[in-house]
Symmetry: D2
Subunit: 138 residues, 4 copies
């Protein structure tokens, strides 16, 4: 089974730093989103790809562990890795590292499910997703 | 001609304060939005009211003058005031004041136009808006 | 042992709703923050209280389970509940419910640690926090 | 007199698109900020450069004109241009264009003043800023 992953650099905005001079914890959701979108573009599993197949893929779970603060002048990377599963879900693991030293700053995961255009939960794997998994051997 | 206005209290979140210990200037767009939504509920001109008539009302203009910083422990108010105009536009003026002393902290304005459901600009006043203006004498 | 909790109403902003017409998952961090600040004011454990004792209390962990989408016209409540622990940590559980039907829309938790003003992790319970726990019997 | 400007590409996040399927107007403040930070790095006038000289440079004015909506799949650019002035202010003009067609999507401006570390307004041009203007001939 292949390991699908991609790494993207993060740009820390001045406005993302709070009055403790560290990046506000709530912004990590956008960092994960940046990673998810980069993954989607690279492997053909973006919001628009999924939408084009007649599905939404909302998050049903997210967790973050903050190990070291992210500072304004850091240039961290976020690595996203697809976690294979048989369920009709898209599961990703994330790792934010300090580009300079390679230190792990945070980890996390997200789980997405499929909904049809009437916002009904889809319990079985959509065919396009089965094909996608076969194509990438995951 | 009547003066339509409403005042709402603002709750400053810790995450809205930047590393200068003041509210980040970009958040004022949400303060104005809070005011606009309160106005919409009070006078029947909310996003959903407009949408229910078959229109969007996107912003085409926004300005803010920041006179004094807004601090975390302040309880400011924002006052929104409808500015009458003959054009097919919704124009609002805003004033953010320190609840304690009444000092003006910021002022601003927004301009909205009407678009139909195909995102085409609507040049003439929609009938529902003319009726709304007549009803409120503005 | 007492159960310390508080419930606050949430105001959904138009800008918090994404193109799936549901509240974007990343905003839940601010909903939890709203709850934490309300708890802090009610029980004397706010950011400023902690800062006044010479400590920061950054988050080191956050999780959210999204059960049902939050829609623009909902008036959800968030309930925050202090989870007792012997460690030098502040742990909260959260539950977002639909005000109308009482349905659970989301759950989550956060963990905060103590850092001194030089951003060094504090391993032992600060005295003020021990006193706070004794006062509230948690 | 020289014209100091720089252009940066914008990445539109899914979460920045609202339920009208266009980028929420409030996000333009971060687009301008991205441009300002790129300008600051290129010409040595970033937040940290200014802070290192003993000053803050908060915004006192911002305006945006939204001409065409920014869509999720666009790759717009933002161009920032320094507007020379004798006052102790930093004034920038902005233009957001569609990378594909070159069409102007939005324009705007910001004004920043100088404050010392005690948050007192500085009326005269700080010496470092006069030197900076001389160096770049603006």
């Amino acid at each position: 089974m292949a390991e699908l992953k991609t790494t993207v650099p993060l740009k820390i905005r001045f406005s993302e730093v709070d009055s403790m001079h560290i990046v506000w914890h709530g912004h990590y959701a956008t960092f994960f989103e940046d990673a998810r979108e980069a993954f989607g573009r690279q492997y053909g599993l973006g919001y628009m790809d999924i939408y084009g197949q007649g599905f939404y893929a909302p998050l049903v779970e997210m967790s973050v562990k903050y190990r070291k603060p992210v500072l304004y002048d850091m240039n961290p990377d976020v690595t996203i890795c697809f976690r294979p599963t048989d369920a009709a879900k898209i599961v990703f693991d994330y790792e934010i590292t300090d580009h300079a030293g390679g230190e792990v700053l945070a980890t996390g995961h997200t789980v997405q499910v499929f909904m049809d255009m009437e916002y009904r939960l889809v319990w079985a794997n959509p065919e396009f997703y089965l094909n996608w998994k076969m194509k990438w051997n995951v």
